[in-house]
Chain length 513, copies 2
């Protein structure tokens, strides 16, 4: 029996990804180039990501604010002067009115803005402006702010969730009295991202520091979490930046110290975006569609009453509704269980495969005989088959009472099993036995031929400036990048694979999104 | 003793409003004209509004989606052709890159968009485009979608929360098979807004239908909820529109009926915005600042440990923390109680007045003596004074155990008392005894002199077209408007106050925001 998607991961990973996004009803392209429509199932996942991240931000002392969508061009110019490597692909608002001219609607020349406005690509400048007003004294520090917002960065080659012109994210912005406190915050939020990715998204990641040329423009240090997709490529899934006093100097964010002196604040920023949903798809999806970790599944359990236009249909329906109610009284992963009875018209088998593609963790089919026997028959989406994919999905059967009582444990075991599966794959695909550039290029091959290649962990001399440029060019020729230098690593074990100089640290090398 | 604000409502209501927004730390103006910065306390209120409205949308079968920020100008043109009264004050994006030219950052002429993009002022067109793809058959109906989003309408005379260029809102968009189902939805969502305003915001409103010239452009029927502010003016706080088949025809939203014919959908849209926060301020605020209904207060109870740099400070602090924990285990208004211990530096009395201005429903001051006696001393923000404002806020005292046990009931009684106070004021200020235009103008006076004037409920002949224009001009001369024709009204009691023709229904007449 064929899989529920028209294409497999092995056949073409990029096309498979698009098929999942479409057939799991997550999102679609829109008439506005590069902008996506997020559909209810995709939005439901984002809502759960938001809720659980937001709780972690609040638990670490952050408060939410909202800042303007628009940024005056002069703010960007100030930043641009300050920061090399500043990207310029932004949406520029130049007029504030439309008008019919010669019967055609167009921007009204009389309503041209004196100063163009930029649709925020990120909000360091406009938030920094507020910080400069809000912070007077050391007593105002640390100032710990987060914002949930849409941002726009013009994309020439958009891909749903992974790279879109408009995307949704959170951006944390904080100000501190000194380096140590700001660095503690930077690392703390990286750790919040790491544990969130692993515990909530069931997506193992490697947390580490980016190399100098991969830093956020204006940052002293940039840290990232990197996740391994099922094609072996790395996905940067979150970043946290220590910005030193660069932004504070550009925007005059000063405070009076306890001893009455004036000092610049040390600031940080950190963010994750709707890109995380792309990471979930490429971490957990299989050839039947998405598999969702229960912690972010909008419905954790979908109950399909099997109706046959017979009088005892009513039994199956009322049994299903009672079951959903009983399940909703249970808890799993720190929240009430989310169960849905799908009453839409259609054949149960079609509906089953629809929910398989969408990745509902548990799918139940309830016929009148189940109702009579007080039993449930269900499919565990993370373990659809016995061993290798077989001709038939593996339905399990259980009495209602133990099933309801055990639902919390079952959902938690699905959450854990998805994580373990991904972690085992990632750990097994990080090679640390390739000691020379020749070995590394032999492993990856010159071109990305679609074959699974994992990551390489290898020592380097942490080059900077021109030496780093040279290494980057060398990597680029093989379509490779340095992802990050993992935190908490043992002392380096050999010479730099690029230069032969003594190794300073180990870095992850891979192809990437 | 003077009040906690530098100005009273009577002295100047508009300035008082600004003082509350500022001194309750709700929001501030930004460097981008017309756009506001929403500060943590203001954002916390909005979060609670969002959560509780969202739950009501989901309970009535709606799903959330997200649609692009940008709308192609051609979509707007299509709509504009279709719809008279189309407003053109919109932010227009014309370029997608900045470039240094002659050392100056500016829109790159090589990156001019072929078609300008409009920052959404509302999303009927872009959502209608998706609906035309999503809906094929009667089985796809009704389609019930909501979106939480930022929108932009260029404002020449912005006022924080009430009228800003960028604001946050939700917009519901639904498609139905026929008039009756769409009208049922339109009225259902109006009722959701009405009960939400009254039960959650404690803001009494009158739900009714707008007159023809006040309809949303393209709507067959527009309904609103109108709230009475403390200066007697009306604030339109939410609208719900039955759009007939106008938008469906413009955007080709069709479906196949059960009998195989093709028909246009009947659509609705409905929205409320951050303007609601302005309504809460002007409904409940007093001369000491904001008074928040507990259902939307980010902290319902603020505990201020009174510290005196003495050894027994630790007792007051640990007593405060234990108390906050005990309170958080209680429930009120369907959610866990939200209690904060404010540990910031500063004198307790300053902190008290800070929380008075912000409108925390209950403020406790805990000294070491309270800790020793196991008692609490608290201020009920909605009843600060005995009778008329006196020299001193009224502190109440109670043993800890009954206070904790009774906290749910206390918060619910504050919620109710704020509503009752506002409802009594509104009911007492709707005059239905003014039977002629002369009486009405005598009551309101020619100019808005800042004196409190309520609303007038009077019969009219429900004029349309030119006759309505004439009535509107007559009203405008007195700075008056017709707000709506309240639902569920008794048969009309007299001749039209404008034309003398037989009255068809009663309408609310007032000055308005």
């Amino acid at each position: 029996m064929p899989n529920a998607l028209p294409i497999t991961r092995r056949e073409n990973f990029a096309d498979w990804y698009q098929a999942v996004v479409k057939l799991a009803d997550l999102a679609e392209t829109s008439p506005v180039r590069g902008c996506m429509v997020i559909k209810p199932w995709g939005w439901g996942i984002w809502e759960r990501i938001q809720q659980q991240l937001d709780a972690r931000f609040k638990a670490t002392g952050h408060e939410n604010c909202y800042f303007p969508l628009f940024i005056p061009m002069s703010f960007i110019a100030k930043e641009a002067e300050h920061v090399e490597g500043f990207a310029k692909e932004m949406a520029v608002v130049t007029h504030h009115r439309l008008k019919y001219i010669d019967g055609k609607l167009q921007p009204d020349p009389d309503a041209k803005l004196e100063e163009p406005l930029i649709v925020r690509p990120t909000s360091e400048t406009i938030i920094g402006d507020a910080f400069s007003r809000w912070i007077q004294s050391y007593r105002d520090l640390p100032l710990l702010i987060n914002q949930w917002a849409n941002v726009v960065r013009w994309e020439m080659r958009p891909r749903l969730f992974l790279r879109t012109t408009e995307f949704l994210w959170q951006e944390g912005h904080t100000a501190h009295a000194d380096h140590d406190d700001a660095m503690r915050e930077t690392r703390q939020m990286l750790e919040v991202y790491r544990t969130f990715a692993e515990d909530v998204l069931a997506m193992p990641v490697v947390a580490g520091e980016k190399s100098e040329n991969e830093r956020f423009p204006g940052a002293d240090n940039t840290y990232s979490i990197e996740a391994m997709m099922q094609d072996g490529k790395a996905l940067q899934a979150g970043t946290s930046h220590y910005l030193g006093t660069h932004f504070a100097e550009a925007q005059n964010i000063k405070y009076q110290t306890a001893t009455g002196e004036t000092a610049f604040c040390h600031t940080t920023s950190w963010g994750v975006s709707t890109r995380l949903i792309g990471g979930v798809i490429m971490t957990h999806g299989d050839d039947d569609g998405l598999r969702l970790p229960p912690a972010i599944a909008p419905h954790q359990i979908v109950i399909l009453p099997v109706l046959r236009d017979r009088p005892d249909d009513a039994d199956a329906m009322s049994f299903s509704e009672d079951l959903a109610r009983a399940l909703s009284m249970q808890g799993a992963l720190g929240a009430p269980v989310r169960a849905l009875v799908d009453k839409k018209a259609g054949r149960a088998v079609d509906k089953r495969w629809n929910w398989v593609r969408r990745g509902a963790p548990i799918i139940l089919e309830i016929g009148s005989r189940d109702a009579a026997a007080n039993r449930v028959t269900y499919l565990r989406r993370d373990q659809m088959y016995d061993g290798t994919p077989a001709s038939k999905a593996k339905m399990q059967s259980e009495d209602v009472e133990p099933f309801v009582k055990g639902i919390g444990a079952l959902l938690e075991s699905i959450q854990k099993s998805l994580f373990t599966e991904a972690q085992t794959r990632m750990r097994g695909a990080i090679r640390n036995d390739l000691k020379t550039w020749k070995d590394i290029t032999a492993y990856f091959g010159k071109d990305d031929d679609g074959e699974f290649k994992g990551w390489v962990l290898a020592p380097w001399s942490k080059p900077t400036g021109d030496a780093l440029e040279k290494v980057t060019a060398q990597l680029k020729e093989q379509q490779l990048t340095v992802r990050n230098a993992p935190l908490h690593q043992a002392a380096s074990r050999g010479p730099c694979v690029f230069t032969g100089a003594p190794g300073v640290e180990e870095v992850l090398i891979s192809r990437a999104y």
